[in-house]
Amino acid sequence: MAERSFAKEVEKLRLGEGEEFAGEGILAITKALLQCGVGYVGGYQGAPISHLMDVLADAQDILGELGVHFEASASEATATAMLAASVHYPIRGAATFKSTVGTNVASDALANLASGGVTGGALIIVGEDYGEGSSIMQERSHAFAMKSQVWLLDPRPNLPSIVQAVEHGFELSEVSNTPVMLQVRIRCCHVHGKFIAKNNKRPAMTVADALENPRRDTGRIVLPPASFLHEKEKVAKRWPAAVDYIRKNGINEFFGPDAGSVGIVMQGGMYNAVIRALQRLGLADAYGETDVPLYVLNAVYPLIDDEFLTFCEGKDSVLVVEEGQPNYIEQAFAAMLHKAGRGTRLVGKEYLPVAGEYTGQVMLDSLGAFLRAEAPQLLSAEIRAPNKMGGGEEIPDLSKVVPGRPPGFCVGCPERPIFAATKLVEQELGKHHIASDIGCHLFSIMPPFELGATTMGYGLGPASASAFNAPEAKRRSISFVGDGGFWHNGLTSSIGNAVFNKNDGVIVVVDNFYSAATGGQDILSSRANNRTKSTQHPITKAIEGMGVKWLRHIDRTYDVGKMQATLKEALTTEEKGPKVIVASSECMLNKQRREKPLVNQAIKDGARVVKPKFGVDEDICTGDHACMRLSGCPSLSVKSLDDPLRDDPVASIDQNCVGCGNCGEVADAAVLCPSFYRADVVHNPSGWDRFLDRMRGAVIGFLQRRRERRRLVFADA
């Protein structure tokens, strides 16, 4: 069960011809797929397209009615390989994943898919996670399109444009027998907008039809000599067909006046930011009517030579707005101008930053600089030579004051105690080389834990420690891998590799029952029943199957003492070969989403429910914050006491505490202090509870009164 339910939203997927669809970009893409008669869809979750997978998972009834097959692929490579269904059969298929991490994983399949080509339209929707808030490296999907010779669409970021891009994508793929990538940036995926819907279409051929009528064509298989012919076909047939389609259908758009001394070329995804900058420079209105000729590339690969050269006619200079590095588009355009012997000056990264996100301010500064230099006559006097704002009070710099707030473990996260235990083991046995993986557990690299030296890819944590296998060394490496990464490819690349190479290191599999960082999607080892997928396959069994001899399973990660002892044993045992610890507890975010409403209902219905919460005795806490250096839990924080005798703030637990137990366990395992207490509130107590409580209360009250009668009692002491 995913973190967010789209059960309500998926009803919008049933909208018919002429009805208005309102919602998120990602949902609009899903609707567009159905309108295009897609036959099968698959993918792997990850921001910003996780919701696309969640929507599809929640929409299985609708997909079923239309005869559309949905696959929650094991990895991006799987998802791309799945598109092989469109090689011989005229079935439209779509795969989706996060780029560029997913595109990297998918590369092998992508290359083979692109070589043989496709018969049915094959669309790869890549969610671009670039710029602010991104969790991955800043690479470009563009390079993948170029190296595999697949086409890349980058539509303007509004719902009608992206829906249209899906439609064009399938047709373009079919006319050019080439897979097409559709790139949507993160904000575009989450943009809330509207478009006019069309009826959903049943696929002309379903995967069931294809299974019953198998076809093959040796010419489509990637093996010489066919693969040599594919290379020729790519340039002789497929490329011209694509160029032709893009030109004829006007996929790229022109705005503004036909003539002008300057012009701006941009990726479709940059359009809104360019218009906003032009608005602020007084050169465009609210609806994008502009005084500067614009050439908008909704298809960024392949580029259309004559379209571009025509745009440049009569212009002294043209600016290319291309986010990302290297500047492939700018280079290609420069070559076109050069070969055509044109005198138009092409500029791009001279005015725009070479790398990084093109934010509003960047765009305003860069376009302003370009126009001031190349076409000052377009600008009004005050924009041409702005007077520096003077006289106003200088705003103090807060960068030294405002603390950074990177993402971290949630309240009650079951991974926190794993890293608290690791930190405690390191305090005892010294520092170790720790290899991290991709997933929530990577937050361990940040304070307060600061554990982990590298992250090399999904499921590659233990693989990235594989060189550290030296019997003469006194210490072992520790590597982490999450359950998501484990099933993605960690089982073979990390565990299998460690067994085969007799790696002596320690591997911790962080099992939280979901692919949690991407939004809580189910995976093989999820404990819940999933209506359409097969779950409850234990990780431990898979590891045993790979041949691991030293395997420990901790079924409650909050047991810090046990975690600590097990890790210590793994680091010190005489046993050879990989030492694997599977640490399992349910992702608290998902658990709370699932259980909280049930618990509240049960309390309302009068059932006996015990609800735990932690607290701190503020007069026992000395304000050293040692507990926080082993936690970082958002609900464990500091507060000032109104007591001049005390200088430092004490620990305090707020009402968001879910009573996971980490505080108490850590206080115990690290021998910190006795200030923590767990308060279990028994709602709707039974008669026996009440009786016992009364009896205990009587004795305790007696003892308390006895002592308090004999001493001075200060008010609110």
């Binding site: 921001a47 996780s50 602010e132 808030g133 969790s135 993160i186 904000r187 575009c188 809330h192 809104n272 930011a273 608005q279 602020r280 007084g282 465009a284 209105d285 609210a286 005084d291 509003g360 301010q361 009070e393 807060l398 004051v401 707030r405 993402p407 971290g408 309240v411 304070p447 960082a517 003492g561 026992i620 000395t622 914050h625 970082g632 464990l636 500091v638 507060k639 000032s640 007591d643 001049p644 005798l645 430092d648 703030p649 206080a667 202090c673 006795p674 207490y677 767990r678 308060a679 028994v682 107590p685 509870d689 009440r690 004795v699 009250g701 003892l703 001075l712 009692v713 200060f714 008010a715």
Partner: protein, 541 residues
Amino acid sequence: MLDIVSSMRDVPARGDGGVIKIAILAVGGQGGGVLSDWIVDVAERNGYLAQSTSVAGVAQRTGATIYYIEMCPDKGRLPVFALSPSQGDVDVLVAAELMEAGRAIMRGFVTPDKTTLIASSHRIAAVSEKIEPGDGRASSAKVRETAELASKRFIAFDMEKIAVQNGSVVSSSLFGALAGSSVLPFPRETYEATISASGRGVKASLAAFGGGYNGARGRGVEITHPVVPGGPDDQAAAHSPVSSATAADGAEPVENNGPDVEGPRRLVAGWQELTARIEEMPVPVRDMALRGLRKVVDYQDMRYGEEYLDRLDRALMLDAEEQGYALSIAAAKHLANALCYDDMIRVADLKTRSTRGARVRREVGVKDDAILQTTEYFHPRVEEFCGAMPATIGSYIENRPKLSAFIDRRINKGRRIRTDSFTGFAMLWMIGGMRRWRRGLLRHRVEQAHLDRWYDLALATVPKDYALAVEILNTRRLIKGYSDTHVRARSKFDRVLSALPMLKGRPDAADWLRRLREAALKDEKGDMLDGALKTVATLGD
């Protein structure tokens, strides 16, 4: 002016055509997404076109996140909305926490010509603020001052408190504050209709909305100087009578005219004798001395209070009015803390008091019919065991490593004690009762010796360097924590004072000692302190 505007209406004006731009900065989990959906909904209800975007993903996991909304009246044509906020071009900035308001200012999203800044003034401490052994919290006051300068209008009050009081989330009270600010041209009812249509927790959300609405209009909450329990610079404010009334966290202000006290007549009479001694002290010292006395008597007994005052008198004798009695005030404070060292007896005593049970019920929010069960986490070691033994036996064991190790193996483990049960409570109650024998126990002897060394050192320094003597007393702040943490604290304390010979005779010795203490509070192991000590070592060169 109006004429110009109307005459230009036919020719589309260059510019964004009056698009309203709203950015929301929140901490993951604060409901920023809900708030942004609500704003879009209320805009659409009022005939506006609106677009919202966000960057979801891992950033939501407790990190800072940003949501962005643009809107304009629907004139039948879709405008080009931007997908992210631009510096200097944001009309309304909603910050769901005070430092996020600071972050927005830092990023240029708040400008004096344009931006209405609506911020909840409460603090959610970042991890970096929490892990310092001292007080690592950022200065709220600085952010507030800057916000006043940086924004066109600054609306700030504790919207989290309003939300919690109404059983809702801060997004509801923020939505109320947005409505109350009237910065958007929408009537209140339409906002409420939006909440009602959302269908979940409507009643609580509406109540919190109302609180936020009133707050933004200056009703029901103090707007001009809302008190944020926060950074060190707020502490001074927190002690002023005005602000302590509004201070959050339920910390009750302490009356200065002496605490209410109850008890056997003999003890009350004794207490009055002791407080009479304080009445004779110079006025500036009295408050701290009274607080200290109360803590000490509460910790042990009346005689302990007498000893406390005797010690304090030694400082007073050396003190002078022109120094503002800084020495005696520091002595009153740190002597009390030093005398009330944290031992098992103290912990057991505090955990078995009737007031404690009541406080836990209040903090946890136990309703009358529900039953509370309390589990305490203890982890005694041989050190604690010996400390709680009569001094001779305790040091006998400590001096025999094998015996110590043997005992440690038997007792060194985590113990969970249910203080709501007969046995658990009785056990702690009895340990708390060991108070009367405390003076004979090993721990007491160790602590007294340590206290005397430190106090004698400070007082002996007074004739040579008054300020340095005060700082020696203040070094006591470093001693805190239990078990290993306590050992580390002691070590920092010793390391700081180890600089004294190097500082001898320097006019800025006090200043250096203060710096060393502050460095010691920056990190766990004292790395900063070691660096500072190296600097001190080079001072003589």
